[in-house]
């Protein structure tokens, strides 16, 4: 029996590596982060401490946390698997995720940091009518967080069967509940500070692990990229080196990819959990440094996944990967096992769980901040929530969202809902980004424009997805039995993103109400100079 046969046999019996070792390494991660979270949370007193970590992180720290927040299990396991199986098209996907950061760097990060306080809505409602705009921004924030969260929790179930050898429904549900409960604990106790440390530690482990595996794979191929590509092509066929294996099947699939590319490149700068991270640093300059660090780390990581994906294709082969439990997602863990045996697999598995934990924690604190700061304090309590009231509501919201995530995560086990991540990006690009850009750069932009753009962008993206092939009409749909689909693409971005921009413009030019020019002037001066921006809290 050669090594591939051993892996195949191991994969079929669903026990690759040693589940107890995998759990122990993850347990050690939980223990270490928990101690750090508890120590970090001693100073959590005010809303600025709880939502924005007292604005006390440095640019490099925050940039690492951003990488930890952004590199979800989908981008680690998913992109490695996509490159291993579909070759070049998986790589194409990762480029959109990286280039998108330039929008955040050039247009959004510093101006947002200078103008806002805790949430995206702070900036959007700065010079427009407070309550309707805040409510709309909170709605799109909660929608994006919900879609993203559900996708992460569904991923957790798949990981459990792959890494812990637990295949029955009850066992998987228990693990999802444990991951959810841990997340609630971190966010409840640690607030943004705790969440940030979990993300920093996870990012360091993930990038270091990927780096070691990358060097290893390259060493096996004489540090020659061409040789690695040749090895991948000799196993998976010449077409893995060329574009089109996944997206080039038909004209429709090509258009679908262009639509996805649009959502990826414009969505990142509108993701509320990414935007919120800019408030954890003391100045706009540090916000800029954060993005620079994030771009280098994320860029390096995606270069690693290129090597890892082709490495998995060459050393393990697409057939073994697709037939393993977890399917496409098993490429990186199988490669870890092939290279470093059960110990490296245990490490990578623990990192994958830590990834889900860190990303879910970031989404939860963003959703909780948006609900308590925008909906409760500003809309319901009209800006006077009373001392401590806002943070109390935020903590309650964390528990509610955590429980919803657990129930949702158990409910969607085995469902094909990978499209939710793409939907989250599409909503961020169609509902959030137009209003952010218009608020920061167009003085005439009005309340009506903001509302039309946000509700129109959100509504069109969700409706188009609901009537597309991913929800009904084919065997791989979420609801396979029925067919009410009429939208031919799987990604709504190509329609909904231009629509969001057009509605924002149309709402503004048809609006007779003029916004206060004095406040517009104040926002412009503050956004560019940092005058009056929230400072770090000192303890």
């Amino acid at each position: 029996m050669n090594r591939t046969d051993i892996i195949r046999a191991a994969a079929e019996s669903t026990e690759i590596g040693n589940p107890i070792l995998n759990i122990s390494i993850f347990g050690a991660f939980v223990l270490v982060t928990l101690v750090i979270v508890l120590r970090a949370s001693r100073n959590n007193k005010t809303a600025a401490d709880y939502y924005a970590a007292g604005r006390s992180f440095t640019g490099p720290q925050n940039g690492t946390a951003i990488a930890g927040d952004y590199l979800s299990a989908a981008s680690f396991l998913g992109i490695c698997g996509a490159i291993a199986i579909n070759g070049y098209d998986g790589f194409l996907y990762s480029i959109g995720f990286l280039v998108a950061w330039l929008v955040a760097l050039l247009l959004v990060a510093e101006l947002m940091r200078n103008t806002g306080k805790f949430t995206m809505a702070d900036v959007l409602s700065f010079r427009l009518k407070q309550r309707p705009v805040r409510l709309a921004a909170a709605t799109t924030t909660l929608a994006v967080c919900f879609f993203y969260l559900l996708a992460q929790m569904a991923g957790a179930g798949g990981l459990v069967s792959l890494l812990l050898g637990i295949n029955d429904q009850v066992g998987q549900s228990v693990v999802v509940a444990v991951v959810g409960a841990l997340m609630i604990l971190y966010v409840l106790v640690g607030g943004m500070k705790g969440t940030t440390w979990v993300q920093i530690i996870k990012a360091v482990l993930l990038i270091a692990g990927a780096f070691v595996m990358t060097v290893w794979v390259l060493a096996l191929h004489g540090f020659n990229l061409s040789e690695l590509l040749g090895a991948a092509a000799s196993v998976g066929g010449e077409e893995v080196l060329n574009p089109g294996k996944q997206y080039g099947v038909s004209d429709l699939s090509r258009l679908d990819f262009v639509s996805l590319a649009l959502a990826l490149v414009l969505g990142t700068a509108g993701l509320p959990h990414v935007l919120m991270r800019f408030y954890t640093v003391p100045t706009a300059r540090e916000a800029r440094r954060s993005v620079v660090w994030a771009i280098w780390l994320i860029g390096a990581f995606y270069l690693f996944t290129l090597v890892l994906g082709y490495g998995a294709g060459a050393l393990i082969g697409a057939d073994t990967i697709t037939s393993a439990p977890g399917g496409v997602n098993s490429a990186a863990p199988l490669l870890a096992f092939e290279l470093g045996g059960p110990l490296l697999l245990g490490f990578i598995s623990a990192v994958a769980f830590a990834t889900i934990l860190a990303v879910v924690a970031g989404l939860t604190i963003t959703a909780a901040a948006s609900f308590s700061h925008d909906v409760y304090a500003s809309v319901i309590k009209k800006g006077n929530p009373g001392p401590g009231g806002e943070v109390k509501v935020a903590r309650i919201t964390v528990v509610v969202i955590g429980l919803l995530a657990i129930v949702g995560g158990i409910g969607v086990q085995g469902q094909n809902i990978a499209f939710l991540v793409a939907l989250a990006f599409a909503v961020a690009a169609s509902a959030n980004l137009p209003t952010i850009i218009y608020s920061l750069f167009w003085r005439r932009f009005s309340t009506r424009g903001a509302l039309w753009s946000m509700y129109g962008g959100l509504g069109s993206a969700v409706i188009l997805i609901a009537f597309s092939g991913v929800v009904s009409g084919s065997e791989t749909s979420m609801i396979p039995g029925v067919d009410f689909s009429w939208f031919p693409l799987n990604n709504p971005g190509i329609i909904s993103i231009p629509l969001g921009f057009i509605l924002g413009w149309l709402g503004t030019v048809t609006s007779s109400r003029r916004e206060d020019p004095a406040v517009a002037a104040e926002m412009e001066v503050r956004s560019l100079t940092g005058h009056g921006a929230e400072k770090a809290t000192s303890h």
């Binding site: 070049y88 247009l107 061409s226 040789e227 060329n242 090509r254 262009v258 001066v525």
Partner: protein, 114 residues
Amino acid sequence: MSNDARSAPLTDFAEVEASEPFRRLKKRHRSFVWPLTIAFLIWYFAYVLLASYAPDFMSTKVWGNINVGLLLGLGQFVSTFAITTWYVSFANRQLDPLAAEIRADLEAREGVAR
């Protein structure tokens, strides 16, 4: 209803906005970020469209198993890193000192007003 993110209006911001240093800062910022944004978006979509609609061109071998598509893809990484570095050095040299000057001036004036 007040916006808690807004400070009390001690300053006439319209006057600051119309002042020469601020207009200079705004022009410098916008005339740098917008052309660059448009340029990298065109470059990115040119790449995406080539990969989608010109796979034969992208599959042309350049050296060993390295083809045009891989080189252009890695080119996206290089351009992203280069734009990042360029913007940071521009902002550090051209934007930050001017912004700090205007901010100091504003704070001094507000100090007098109080």
